[in-house]
Symmetry: C2
Subunit: 315 residues, 2 copies
């Protein structure tokens, strides 16, 4: 039986745990494993061209009959080709991020899709709600990868959103445990989107060197940098230090872009170059200490959530 | 009847809401009002010399028979005089912050005081626990005023602390509502320390201009700066812009100190110069929209907490 809230009804899933779409981590293997476990798996289209995306969608459809979705960063250059693939393959759920939800939402909705937009602040959430999306992901400062400029943490963002937003809200950023899931639902969220913990799991397509670097990392070893370009949270490695020193010494956006170059996240996350690559991960990196399957992650979080929920009412 | 947890037992208070010690805000009026309302009021010694501190302690003792405490930043130059006043006046509870808990904890404990230490990260919490403190305040990135370098948010910090710390933990940073209090307790904290919301209340000794600036502020209008000195979160005003521009242009710590000068927080918070003063406040500034009494704040948070706790068990 599905858990009784609007997020589970919207996606027809049993457990309101959404696996974040992540570059170089979330292909068909991860997405289908999470969906099979009762959550919602997402294929991360941000690191795929349209042919690769199509292949991953078809493989996911083969691997599971359960609902899954595609995460689509709207700043992607080949966005129209991606949308063609999504419509052609009959994908039912799209999470849009990193862009303006006004442009695509009504077209996607007219084609029968469920549309969720990822935001980092209240003003973007209001805009997405006005654009007609079905739900919102509110992603806090502690999340890995690309992030907002206002640096609102998940705890503050949830309080801001849940005062003003009528459609269902999914919390993202800093969520690792069943207890944190209960905290998000206590704030009024109806689901959680979890990235980092799934980035390291067995079914993630990230390189083993990347997974090992995350497992070994401690508190304070991620940082949000490149605030004058697009802020991004990553592990502090040699490549990070190069960028950070340039920032501290007053480098302008053009100079930072030159240092950044192309393909740094592929190099770090997919090819496993933990020195020269960009290792995108959230603050919960410090909490991750083991390799697990996607199924074990979903079940552990869900069981801890249910157990803690029973306890808290007695507190 | 006291709420049944270790924080209420430790302080002998009814409601596990602690009002943060805050420079230029939390004198005897605020501390006694919060204690009278059933929480724990703290006198913020960071902006007082020893004579002023003594006066505020004596006035608090006259205004309430309920437990209250003193917040003592350990970097304060006249720390030994402050401690003499605390022992002489029979204060029972001390929250130490911004320094090494090893130096003073055992002496304070030997004198019969309850000692709590404020930390921004797990390694400091473990050190404080080893030093023998009775409880820990874990303060996240979103908190106002001085803050840690690791930028761990309250949500992540609680998950890190509550895996490893055996003594009671109080959550701080980003806490505004009863829902957020429930979130903190869901994570395993046993109390909340709230600053910003009390900074603006009737009994706060802050200038009305400061309170008005906080009430009018929106999401994204605080920032954590001065990371090469001591990181501090403040409202983005003219003084902030001066500092930020210097930082972005690569100013070194000595240059930043010169711009900072002396008495900037007094100028902003106590004297009400909202352009040239330092307006220390947390991210929840964006959630604060009204003037209230300390009693109303404690009661509203507590009632919302109890109501939401009853709901969540049914979710």
């Amino acid at each position: 039986m599905n858990y009784n809230n609007r997020i589970c009804s919207l996606f027809d899933i049993r457990i309101p745990i959404i696996q974040a779409g992540m570059v170089w981590c979330s292909g068909w293997k991860l997405a289908s494993a999470v969906s099979e476990a009762g959550g919602l798996g997402l294929i991360g289209a941000g690191s795929m061209n349209s042919e690769v995306l199509k292949e991953h969608i078809l493989k996911t459809q083969k691997a599971t009959t359960k609902p899954f979705g595609v995460n689509l960063p709207l700043i992607y250059s080949d966005i129209d080709k991606h949308i063609d693939v999504i419509l052609e393959t009959g994908v039912k759920i799209v999470f849009t991020s990193a862009g303006n939800p006004v442009k695509y939402t009504s077209m996607l909705k007219q084609n029968g899709l469920t549309v969720i937009h990822v935001v980092s602040g209240l003003k973007y959430a209001l805009k997405a709600q006005d654009a007609g999306v079905d739900a919102i992901v509110g992603e806090g400062f502690e999340a890995g990868g690309h992030n907002g400029r206002d640096e609102t943490t998940t705890l503050c963002l949830m309080q801001l959103l849940l005062d003003k937003i009528r459609i269902p809200v999914i919390a993202a950023g800093g969520l690792y445990s069943g207890r944190s899931m209960l905290a998000a639902l206590a704030l009024g969220a109806e689901g959680v989107q979890i990235g980092s913990r799934f980035a390291v799991c067995t079914e993630s397509s990230a390189h083993d060197n990347f997974k090992q670097a995350v497992i070994e990392s401690q508190e304070g070893e991620t940082d949000l940098i490149l605030k004058s370009l697009i802020p991004v949270r990553m592990l502090k490695n040699e490549f990070y230090t190069l960028l950070k020193n340039a920032e501290v010494n007053g480098a302008n956006p053009a100079e930072l872009k030159t240092i950044l170059g192309k393909g740094r996240s592929k190099k770090g996350i997919f090819e496993g170059d933990t020195k020269e690559g960009e290792l995108e991960i959230g603050q919960v990196s410090a909490l991750i200490y083991k390799r697990e399957s996607a199924k074990d992650i979903v079940e552990e979080i869900w069981n801890e959530f249910l157990e803690r929920k029973a306890q808290i009412s007695l507190l």
